[in-house]
Amino acid sequence: MSVRLSAHFSVLTPSDFLRRCAANPSDVFVAAAMNALPFTIYVSFAGALLALAAGTRSHFAARWIALVTALTSFALTLLAASSFVPSPGLQTIIDLPWIAELGIRYHLAADGISLTLLVLTGLAATVGVLFSWNIEHRVGEFFALYLILISGVFGVFLSADAFTMFVFYEIAIVPKYFLIANWGSPATREHAAMKLVLYSFAGSALVLAGLLWANAVAIAHGSVSSFSLNDLAAAATHFSRGEQIGLFALVFTGFAVLAGMFPFHTWAPTGHVAAPTAASMLLAGVVMKLGAYGCLRVAMPLFPVGLAFWQPTIAALAIIGIFYAGFIALVQDDFKFVIGYSSVSHMGFVLLGLAAANSTAVAGAVLQMFSHGVIAGLLFAVVGRMVYERTHTRQLADLRQLPLHRLLPFAALTFVLAGLASMGMPGFSGFPAELTILIGVWKTSPAWAFFAGGGILVAAAFTLRAIQVSFFGSTQLSPVAASASEPTHAGSPLHYEPITLAEKVGTALLLAATVYIGLKPDVLLDWITPALQSPLMQAALKGGSL
C-alpha cells in the first residue's frame, strides 16, 4: 500500500513532466500549462508541510509560505486557463494504475468545468491566506491544515477516477474539523465542528457506498472492475432502472449534503458561523462547491436514468431550500448566520440548475458556483474579519448601535458591493449566473423558474436588512459615550484597527473577479459550455426535458 502510494506521488517528476511536454513540441506551452495543473495539489501539500515546519519558529515565515504556496497554485490555474483550449470531455493529464486489483487509477484530467472551479479555488486560497494574516495562535498548524484542505479541493476538481476523487474529497473534509475546532469561535466551535464532520462523513459514507455498489453491479454485469468515471458511466448504461435510481439517490445525496441541500443543510450555517474567517470563506467559497461538483461530475453522468427519476424531487428541495434558508436569513440576530443561511439559499440555485439538467441551466449552475464562491468569500471576509475581529460582536442588535459606516468605511463599502452582488444586481457575477440558470430552468419547467424567481426577492430582502442594520444603523459617533460615565472628548471614543493592506488586497481581488465575470461571463461560459457537450455529460443532459 504505502509503497504504491509513495510511488505514485513521485511519478510525475519534473523530468517526466518535461518529457511529456516535449512529446507535443508544437504546443509545448499549452501542454505544459495543462500538465502543470496537478502541481496545484502537490504544491499545496508541500506548502502545508513547510508551513508546519516553519510555524514552530516563525509566524512570519509560515504566513509567507502559505501565501506563496497559494499564489503559486493560483498562478498555475491561471496559466492553464490562459492557454486552455476548450473541448468536449476531460483532457487527461496523468493516468496511472494505483490499486490495480480494483481498477483504481490515479487519473487526473480537466475540462472547462474543473478549470473554472480550479481558478476559483486558487483565488479563494490566496485571498483566504490574506484574510488570515492576523492569526497568531499556532500559525504553522493553521496554515498547514488550511493548505491540506486546499490540496484536497484541487484534487477533487482534477480527478477523473471516482475513487481518487473520493480520497481527495476526504482529504478536504478532515482539516475542516480541526480548523473549526481549534481556531473557531470558542462558544460553539466544538459543537459546530462535530456537526459538520458528522454530516460530511455521513455524506461521504453514502457516496462511498454508492460507488462500491456501482462497482459491484458493474462487475455483476460483466464489466472489469474500474472506478474511472468513463468506465463506470459505460457500465451503468446496462444497469437496471431500479439500480440507477437507487445509485443516483445514494451518490447524489451524499454529495448534496456538502452542497448544503435542504434538508441536509444544517451543518452549513453552524459551521460557517463557528469557523475562523478563512475557513468560512473556504467552506462557503469552495467546499460547498465540492458537493455540487460531485453531483455534477459523478452522480449525474453516471446515472442519467436515476437523474430523470429524481429531477422533480431535487428541484423541489432546491426551491424549498432557496426560500427556507432565505426566510431564516431574514430573522437572524447573528450577522454571520445571515450570511451562512444566504449561502444555503444561493446554493439552492446551483442545485436547481443541476436539477433542470440541460446545458444552459447546468452552465449557469457552474457559473453560479464560481460566482457564489467569490461573493460568499467577500461577505464572510467582511463579517468575520473586518467587523467581528474589530468589534468582537456579531449580534446585529449590537452592531446597529455602532456607526460602522464611519468607523469602518472600507468594510461598509465592501459589504454594500458584495451585498448587491449577492442579491443578483447586474454588473456583478451573480446576475448572469442566476439569469442563465433561470433561462435554462425555464426550458425544463417554467413553474420551477417562477418559484425560483421569487427567491431573488427574498435574497434582496435579507441582504438589504443586513446592510442597513449592520453598517447604517446609527450615525452617532459616540453611542457608548452617551451611556458611559465619562463622555469622551474629540470625536469617536471607539477606535478600530484600520483595515490592513492584506484585507484590502484580498477584497480587491474578489471584487475584481465578481465584476469581471459580471461584465464578461463569456470568459467562463466559453470554457463551461463545451465541457457540457462531452458524451458523458450529454448522457445526463439529454434527459433535461421532463
Partner: protein, 668 residues
Amino acid sequence: MSLSAQYLWVIPALPLVAAAIGALTPRSGRSLVAGAAIVALALSFFISCAALSTALANPAAHLTHNFTWFELGNDTVRLGWLLDPLTAFMCTMVTFVGTLIFIFSLGYMHEDENFKQFFCFLSLFAAAMLGLLVANSLLLLFICWELVGLASYLLIGFWFHKPSAAAAAKKAFITTRIGDLGFLLGLLWLYDSAGSLLLYDNGNGVLEATALGALGSAATVCGLSVASAIGLLLFCGAVGKSGQFPLHVWLPDAMEGPTPVSALIHAATMVAAGVFLMARVYPLLTPDALQVIAIIGAITALLGATIAVAQYDLKRILAFSTVSQLGYMMLAIGVGAPSAAIFHLLTHAFFKALLFLGAGSVIHAAHHEQDIRQLGGLSVKMKLTFATFAIGTMALVGVPLFFSGFWSKEAILHAAHATAGSHFPFYAALVGVVLTAFYNTRLIAETFFGHGRSHAAEHAHENSAVMTTPLVILAFFAIALGFLGTPVYPWLQARLSGETAVHGHSLLDGVGLLVLSSGLVALGIGAGFALYGRTLRLRTKATAPDPLAIAAPRTHAFLGDRLKFDELYAATFGVVNTFLATASDWFDRSVWGGIVHFLALLGEFSGTVNREADEQGLNAGFDATSEKLRASGQAYSRAQTGDAHGYLRFLAVGFVVLALVAILGGGA
C-alpha cells in the same frame, strides 16, 4: 447633425464616467464631482439632440446596433442600442431636465456634507436611466432598470440617519422588485418563446412581424394567450416602477429623499420608465393585456388624486399627484394611445420637475418645513418661486389652452373616449380631472396665500439664482411643450408613431370633450377655492383644522391614512412573511436541530457498541496492516525536522484506513 446607432452608448457612458470620477474623488473634491456630473449630462444632452434630429429625419426607422454578450451553446444572449423617435425624445427630455435639476442641486445640497456622493449617485442614476432608454434588448433594458432601482434606493436613503428615510429606501427597493420579478419572468418566457430579447433585429426582433406572428399563434395558458401573459408579466415591472396600484405604496415614501431626487427620479424620469417600457413593447401587447393596463391605470389615476386631497406634506401631495398622473399615462397605453402617453410623460416631466423644484425652493427657504399647515403667505415673499409654481400647477391641473398639461391630458381623454373597450377608464379620468384641480387649488392656497402660519414661513425669502433659474426655464417649457401636440397639429404624436405627415383636425371636432374637461377643471378649482381659499383669513395658526376635516372628518382621516394600504399590506403580506421567517427559523433550530442531535446520540450509542465489537473481533485482523502503517507513519514523521504532528498523522492513518475499507468492501 446625425448620429449612428453604433455610438448611442456615448449618451449613457458620459454620466457613467462622471459617476466614476465621483467615486474616485476624495470627499473634498466637491466642485470637481459636481462639475463633471453637470458637464457630462449637458454633453449627453447635445448628443441626444443629434440623436433626435437623426431619428426625426426618418421617424419610421428603428436604427439599431446589436452585439453578443455571451453564448450558451445554442443560446446567444445579445444586447444592442436602438435609436427611434421614442428613444430620442426621452433621452432629450431626461438629459435636459436632468441637467437643470443637477444645477438646482448645487444650491439645494450646498450645505450637505455628502455633497460629492450625492452627485456621484445622481450621475449613476442618469447613466442607468439613459442606458434604459437606448437599450435595444429587453435584457439590457432590464439590467438598466435594476440599476436605476439601485440608484433610487441609494438616493431615497441618502439621509439614512433618519430611520424613515432608511425604511423608505428599503420599501421602495423591495416593492419595485416585486414588480421586477414579473418583468424578469416575462422576459424569460419571451426569450423561451421568441428565442431572442432584441427588440429590433432586421426582422428577427421580438417586436417585429415574425416574432409577433409566432407569439400570436402560441398556445394559451389558463385562459390567457401566451402573448397576453408575457405582456402582463412585463406590465408587472411597470406597475412596480411607475407606482401603479397595487404597488404604489413606495412612491410617496420615496419623498424622504432630497427634493432634487424627488424631482428627477420620483417625478420626471425613473417612475415614468414603466410607461416608457409599455410604450416600447406596445406591439407585443394584446387587447386582453391592454384592457388590464387601462383599468389599472384608471384605478391608479383615481386613487392617487383621491389620497392627495387629504395629505399635509407638500411633497407627498405632489407624490400622490405623480401616482395619479402616471395612472393617466398607463391608462393611455391601455386604451391604445401610446403616443398620447408619451406626450403626457414628456409634459409631465417638465411641469412635475418644476413643481418639485418649486417645492424644494419653498422647503429650502422655510428651513426644511414641508407641512402645508405650517406654511402660507409665501406668494409675497417668494415671487419667482410662486409664479413658476403656479404655472406648473396650472399645467398639472390642465388649465385650458395655454398649459402643456391641458393638451396632453386632452389627448388621453380623447383616446379613452374613442376606445372600443370599456369606458370605465374614461369616466375615472374625468373624475380625476376634478380631483386634481381641487387638491392643487388647496395646495396653492395653503402654501402661498393667507397668513404665514409658522415662524419658518414668516421668515422665508427667495432663493439664489442657481435655484430659481431652472424654475424659470422649466416653467417656459411647462407652457410651450403643449403646442407640440395640440389636436390641430399633433406633431409629436405623429413622429412617435413613425409618421412624417401630421394629420391634425380642427379644435371644433372634439370641442365637446374640450369644453367638458375645461368645465371639470373649473369645478375642481371652484370647489377648492370655496373650501380653502375663502377660509384662509381665518386660519392664522398651524393648528387650525383643515376645512375638509371639519366637513367630513372620517373620510378625511381615512384618506389621510392613504386608504390604509400600508396597514393592509402590513397585516397581510407583512404578517405572512414574518410568520414564514420565524417558523422556518424555529423549525431549523428545533426540529432539524433536534433530529440531528438525536442522530448524534444514536451514533454515540452505536459507536460504543461497535467499539466493543471491534475490540473483540475485527481488530485483531487489522493489527498486521497497522504495523506497516505505523512504519510508514514513522518514516513520514522523520521527514519533518519538527514534531510529528498528531493531526497530520491522523490524516495519513485515516487516508489509508479508508483505502483499506474500500479494498475490503469492493472485494466482498
